[in-house]
């Protein structure tokens, strides 16, 4: 089985197991303040790392290309309180423009 299939199925199985466990385990198991706090921090860490790696790397090499422009435009859009689709679309359009014409 290819890595992509393993990832697709593995992610789905664990995602459901996590959701179902929340509906099934006693509330006190997961309502510990430390767990709540860690749970608030993990998405910030992982998503920020993903932004960086997806913007500035190709496999294991670091590089700066049209994605820097896309990311900058996305940041500006977010500062202007643009809704999510506008953020993604403006990043895509600006990055595509740089890729095609520069």
């Amino acid at each position: 089985m290819s890595a992509l299939w393993i990832a697709t199925i593995g992610t789905s199985v664990i995602a459901f197991a996590l959701k179902y466990s929340g509906h099934s385990v006693p509330e006190r198991w997961l309502s510990h303040p430390k767990i709540q706090r860690i749970n608030a921090l993990i998405p910030i860490a992982l998503l920020s790392a993903l932004v960086a790696v997806q913007s500035f790397s190709e496999k294991s090499k670091l590089m700066v290309d049209q994605r820097l422009v896309g990311l900058s435009v996305a940041i500006i859009a977010l500062f202007l309180k643009a809704p999510f689709p506008v953020v993604v679309l403006s990043a895509a359009v600006s990055s595509a423009a740089v890729y095609r014409w520069l």
Binding site: A3, L4, I6, A7, T8, I9, G10, T11, S12, I14, A15, F16, L18, K19, Y20, G22, H23, S24, E27, L30, S31, K34, I35, I38, L41, I42, P43, I44, A45, L46, L47, S48, A49, L50, V51, A52, V53, Q54, F56, S57, S60, L62, Q66, R67, V69, G70, A74, L78, F84, P85, V87, V88, L89, S90, A91, A92, S95, A96, A97, R100
Partner: protein
């Protein structure tokens, strides 16, 4: 007209008003959030997943951040294990939502399976938003939003995946930038204070610094451990 009848009518008018705001909230959230499915479908195909795999991720994983994470990690050359681990760490919050919703939903058997699958950011948020209107409105908000987002998210995923497949060179359409922009859009609302902003920037810099050194995917997962250590100490 007896007073009790008047009271009954008043009660009904009030209940139907509440029901219609719940429905309206649920529908607007379902449509706007579901539409992001286009970005996911397109990004998944851009990162090497097939249309079928992209659609299965939306049907079965059905949690936006986890889905983007797994395609992001594998797209960057990471192993299946790194991808699964990153996606699963992001999925832990759905378990916490289940803990909040379970006592309100009071469901079992197959209904609980369905409820679990649609326990995500949006269904929980709309349900909690209906709290002033009572438990019944909360349940309605949860089910309407969960099912609505599920339907639209999956339809739009298929559209996005097919669209990206037809594109060819995804960089010419800016898809290579759409993925990090989507991650940024997901993390932005969480950066509520200086502590969160410093954590975000530190993790981004750490991941970049480790990218040439560690195998792909590990620099991302490693930041989760930074979060865990900080969370335990604070």
């Amino acid at each position: 007209m007896p007073l009790s009848a008047l009271g009954f009518i008043r009660h009904n008018v009030r209940v139907s008003k509440v029901a219609s705001t719940t429905l309206r909230d649920s529908l607007s959230v379902s449509l706007t959030v579901g539409a992001y499915g286009v970005a996911f479908g397109a990004a998944a195909v851009a990162n090497g997943f097939t249309v079928l795999q992209s659609c299965l991720l939306s049907l079965l994983t059905f949690s936006g951040a986890s889905q983007f994470a797994v395609i992001g990690v594998l797209g960057a050359g990471g192993s299946a294990l790194s991808g699964i681990a990153t996606a699963s760490l992001l999925g832990v919050r759905n378990a916490l939502y289940g803990v909040i919703m379970a006592p309100r939903l009071k469901v079992s058997g197959l209904t609980r399976v369905v409820a679990a699958q649609i326990t995500i950011d949006e269904s929980t948020a709309v349900a909690l938003g209906q709290e002033p209107h009572g438990d019944d409105a909360m349940r309605k908000g949860f089910w309407y939003t969960g099912i609505g987002v599920f339907v639209f998210w999956n339809l739009f995923t298929l559209a996005g995946a097919l669209g990206a497949q037809a594109m060819g060179d995804i960089r010419a359409f800016g898809l290579d930038s759409a993925v990090p922009a989507a991650f940024l859009g997901l993390v932005w609302p969480r950066l509520t204070g200086n502590f969160e902003r410093i954590l975000a920037v530190s993790c981004a810099l750490f991941a970049i610094a480790m990218t040439p050194i560690l195998p792909a995917g590990l620099p991302i997962i490693a930041t989760a451990f930074i979060a865990i250590v900080i969370g335990l100490k604070r």
